[in-house]
């Protein structure tokens, strides 16, 4: 066992490790874990030790005497009922304290972000700033955050391990998660509640920056997209393709995607600043021209299940539209210009 541990356990880095929390919330979960862990180690050693001792010390020997037929011992029974009761009580106090701590409302002036789970991507809205984005959360370091979470379809669970525990997103309910990031950096996570075919592909990313960098990110996210007349010909052709109505209607870009001032779809991610995001397809692949083209060509090859239909006949995710290579190039160029 130790061998397996040393071979497999000591590599890294582990970007989604729960052992390296970077928020207050993650810290309290981690502390609780280690406290219980050491109790567990002691109990493990004592009980498994007693078991081992019993089977070795009292192994049958040839001509061994008939064992004394003991049926029980009341004092012992009471003792080993009280012992676990006592350990459990020691664990219960900090465990329950942590529950109430975590349930406390966010501090005054917390950054409220509305999170909506979709099959299979995350929508983030910053009502304070009017920012709408997808899959990549941007946060300033040191400011308390309150995520208000719901789902547009099935149940998802928002889990960024280094930020602390997960929380489910359910249609018709709003859940909260409160934490304060205390280090800058890039962090990754993923959906933790089985949500259909591409559950494994519902990834997320968070960028924690200084307040200044966060402010400039907000400024860029609230800026209007590049005016149409400053686009290149190729990009403008992409814009026209984007605005083209297709049959069936769900094959039209604008039916699902919003670009500020140009289209108003709400089913898919808001693309106003899609060119500025570092990943595509629910945080699955890096956002570059080649990946963008493959995604437009056949989304379900990258994220299985997007081409499936729901019970009412509507598409689960992005359909394979059947674009020509020229159209893909133009659309990709346009989308990349939306920074």
């Amino acid at each position: 066992m130790l061998l397996v541990l040393t071979i497999t356990g000591c590599q890294g880095p582990f970007p989604q490790s729960t052992f390296e929390p970077v928020t207050s919330f993650g810290e309290s979960a981690s502390q609780l874990f280690w406290m219980i862990f050491w109790f567990a180690v002691v109990v493990f050693v004592l009980v498994e030790g007693a078991l081992l001792f019993a089977i070795i010390r009292y192994r049958a020997r040839p001509d061994g005497p008939e064992p004394k037929q003991i049926h029980g011992h009341t004092a012992l029974e009471i003792a080993w009922t009280l012992a676990p009761a006592w350990i459990v009580a020691l664990i219960a106090v900090p465990a329950i304290e942590a529950i109430w701590e975590e349930a406390a409302p966010a501090a005054e002036g917390a950054l409220v972000i509305q999170v909506t789970g979709h099959q299979w991507w995350w929508e983030y809205r910053y009502p304070e700033y009017g920012v709408i984005t997808a899959n990549e959360l941007h946060l300033p370091v040191g400011r308390p955050v309150e995520l208000q979470m719901t789902s547009a379809d099935v149940i998802h669970s928002w889990w960024l391990p280094r930020f602390g525990g997960k929380r489910d997103l359910m249609a018709g309910r709003t859940n909260r998660l409160v934490f304060t990031p205390d280090s800058v950096g890039e962090f990754t996570g993923q959906c933790a509640e089985f949500c259909g075919v591409s559950h494994a592909n519902m990834r997320m990313r968070a960028t924690v920056t200084t307040q200044g960098e966060f402010d400039s990110w907000v400024a860029s996210q609230t800026a209007e997209p590049t005016p149409l007349d400053s686009l290149t010909d190729l990009q403008r052709r992409g814009h026209e393709l984007f605005m083209t109505a297709r049959q069936p209607a769900s094959n039209s870009c604008l039916a699902c995607h919003a670009i500020s001032g140009r289209s108003f779809g709400v089913l898919g991610p808001n693309l106003t600043h899609v060119g500025a995001r570092s990943t595509l397809a629910g945080g699955l692949i890096p956002n570059d021209a080649e990946n963008l083209a493959s995604w437009l060509r056949d989304p379900s090859a990258i994220k299985p299940g997007t081409d499936m239909l729901k019970g009412d006949g509507s598409a689960v995710g992005m359909p394979t539209v059947g674009l020509t290579e020229d159209e893909i190039t133009a659309l990709a160029a346009y989308l990349q210009s939306l920074r």
């Binding site: 397996v4 541990l5 497999t8 590599q11 970007p15 989604q16 490790s17 729960t18 052992f19 309290s28 979960a29 874990f33 219980i36 567990a40 493990f44 009980v47 078991l51 019993a54 089977i55 009292y58 192994r59 049958a60 020997r61 061994g64 008939e66 064992p67 004394k68 037929q69 003991i70 011992h73 009922t81 012992a83 459990v88 219960a92 465990a95 329950i96 529950i99 109430w100 975590e102 349930a103 099959q119 379809d153 149940i155 889990w159 929380r167 489910d168 359910m170 018709g172 993923q190 959906c191 933790a192 089985f194 259909g196 559950h199 494994a200 990834r203 299985p304 299940g305 729901k310 019970g311």
Partner: protein, 603 residues
């Protein structure tokens, strides 16, 4: 029950009818036990194969061995199969074979109902697995969370197979549950008071009470689901005012007692095996009985510890944290009593004993990680990750399955009259124990280092490829150990040494009769004067080989099978969205049940 011969009585001596027809019409609890055991073991291998394919897929990051959809079907069917088609019916095999013998009865209270339970189980299991033929195996997880299972988000037949299959299996479990409660309460041999019942029979009783109380809950949940999908009701439809959490509450209200339905029988098995091979009575018999009952009761009050991430609020989380910690106490007490049973004994390392010790050792690990989950705040990191997968496999595989193998090696000579090979059995044990540790131990840190459950693929960036590789290797070691076991049983059936009545020198009544027991179980009914009838001078009267006169045993009947077929046909109606199977199946069920009820009382 009685020994008086009447014109309609079955008179049986050594030997019993053979041939397939005799098995199809059997109402003999021993044969039904064997049928349960063989079927469950086949499904155990199927579920194991599903696990191996999953482990092969997860062997490396970004692997493409199976598709996302196939993987989702595999983990759904692995969980569903292992719980409902393998572990529960394997326990049922022991309930059937062992309990009537342990209490000195000639059969169960309702032998034909018992046959009906088995046939409904088998046909339901085939119904569920036939979904593979249609490429529509269930794909919503064994927990089938609403609203992913709705007609909107899962329009295919996959979820119908699952929801209807579980309802069918529920019928089998409920019928068997009532049957065994009636049997244990009413059919004990003279002198066997409740507190003289063998511990396995006690745990069977507690389990069956849980079955008949918990299965109605999931049945309600499944009927709601079926109605939502079939008739457009809105129990789980948020848009129409329904609630997705209703499913989770109902499911786990059943699901947590279900965990104890799985583990209590094996706790009973281990509580038989440890004393026998320590040559000492079970330490604190009464305490083990009461702690089993207590687990059965507290097991009803912990369900929302599966739902800490749901956001039920601090009051609910506090309550369920506390109750979950509380259940650790009776569980710990059981473990201490098992160790104390061996303490001061003469511990014989038979294969069965090794599996029983393995059960205790593994169960301790699973129990401890269970307490770790009880702290809601840290569980928010663990729930829905591989840490949970590690936890419940220590309880259900290292625990329940190891315990079941302890039972197989223990009662095999009673069931078939021949011993299994001990050397092969020991190799099987060590391969399975080492395989389990290599498979499931790394999953603890795989989860804590950020890998969620139920993912068909994971990013190489997580740094978890080598750990997953180790887990895969371990799972294949377990797979090999099962091949060895299959070889062992084939070898034993052909040329295993003859076992005799009581090869282990055990204390309970099933060892007082010949191996395999005659169709009437005991030539004369035992009279019990002790908790350990075979270890106590005058604990039970001598049981001769031949009965002094004709013995009345229940005759065979094919009506239970016909009734079961009617039930299955009925369930084709909601599957196929057609009315006629409901009419045909319903009519056949009523017709067969009528014939069953008025069947002449003879073979």
């Amino acid at each position: 029950m009685g020994t008086a011969a009447t014109a309609h009585s079955m008179i049986q001596h050594a030997g019993s009818p053979t041939g397939i027809w005799s098995w199809i019409t059997t109402t003999d609890h021993k044969r039904i036990g064997i049928l349960y055991g063989v079927s469950a073991f086949v499904f155990f291998l199927v579920g194991g194969l599903e696990a191996l394919i999953m482990r092969a897929q997860l062997m490396k990051a970004d692997n493409t061995l199976v598709s996302a959809e196939a993987f989702n079907q595999l983990f759904t069917m692995h969980g569903t199969t292992m719980i409902f088609l393998a572990v529960m019916p394997l326990s049922a095999a022991f309930f059937n074979f062992v309990v009537p013998l342990q209490i000195g009865a000639r059969d169960v209270a309702f032998p034909r109902l018992n046959a009906f339970s088995y046939w409904v189980f088998l046909l339901g299991a085939l119904f569920l697995n036939s979904s593979f033929i249609f490429g529509a195996a269930p794909n919503g997880g064994w927990f089938g969370y609403a609203n992913l299972t709705s007609a909107q988000y899962s329009p295919g037949m996959n979820i119908d197979f699952w929801a209807l299959g579980l309802q069918i299996l529920g019928i089998a479990s409920l019928a068997a549950g009532f049957n065994f409660i009636a049997t244990i309460i009413n059919m004990r041999a003279p002198g066997m008071k409740m507190m003289r019942m063998p511990i396995f029979t006690w745990m069977t009783l507690v389990t069956q009470i849980l079955v008949v109380t918990a299965f109605p809950v999931i049945t309600v949940a499944l009927v709601f689901l079926t109605f939502d999908r079939l008739f457009g009701t809105n129990f789980y439809n948020v848009a129409a005012g329904g609630d997705v959490l209703l499913w989770q509450h109902l499911f786990w209200l059943f699901g947590h007692p279900e965990v104890y339905i799985i583990i209590l029988p094996t706790m009973g098995i281990v509580s038989e095996v440890l004393p026998t091979f320590s040559r000492k009575p079970l330490f604190g018999y009464a305490v083990v009985v009461y702690s089993g009952c207590l687990i059965g009761i507290i097991g009803w009050g912990v369900w929302s510890h599966h739902m800490f991430a749901v956001g039920l609020g601090p009051i609910a989380d506090t309550y369920f944290s506390g109750m979950t910690m509380l259940i650790a106490i009776p569980t710990g007490v059981k473990i201490f009593n098992w160790i104390a049973t061996m303490w001061g004994g003469q511990v014989r390392y038979t294969t069965s004993m090794l599996f029983a010790i393995g059960f205790v050792a593994m169960f301790i690990i699973g129990g401890i990680s269970g307490v770790m989950h009880s702290a809601a705040t840290s569980d928010l990191q663990q729930t829905d990750t591989y840490f949970v997968v590690a936890h419940f496999h220590y309880v259900l595989f290292g625990g329940a399955v190891m315990g079941l193998f302890a039972g197989i090696y223990y009662w095999w000579p009673k069931i078939f009259g021949r011993l299994l090979s001990e050397p092969l059995g020991k190799v099987h044990f060590w391969m399975m124990a080492i395989g389990s540790m290599v498979t499931f131990f790394p999953m603890h840190w795989i989860g804590m280092l950020g890998m969620p459950r139920r993912v068909y693929t994971y990013s190489a960036e997580l740094g978890l490829e080598s750990s997953n590789f180790a887990a895969t290797i371990g799972s294949f070691i377990i797979g090999l150990s099962m091949l060895l076991f299959v070889f062992n049983i084939i070898r034993s059936v052909r040329r295993g040494p003859i076992a005799g009545r009581n090869p282990w020198g055990a204390a309970t009544l099933e060892w007082a009769t010949s191996s395999p027991p005659p169709v009437y179980n005991f030539s004369i009914l035992p009279e019990v004067h002790s908790l350990h009838p075979l270890w106590t001078e005058g604990g039970v009267n001598a049981i001769p080989d031949e009965p002094p006169g004709p013995v009345h045993v229940p005759g065979g009947s094919y009506w239970p099978l016909v009734t079961a077929i009617g039930v299955i046909i009925f369930f084709l109606a909601p599957l196929l969205h057609m009315l006629w199977p409901a009419l045909v199946g319903g009519a056949l069920t009523v017709f067969a049940a009528f014939n069953w009820a008025f069947e002449p009382f003879e073979m």
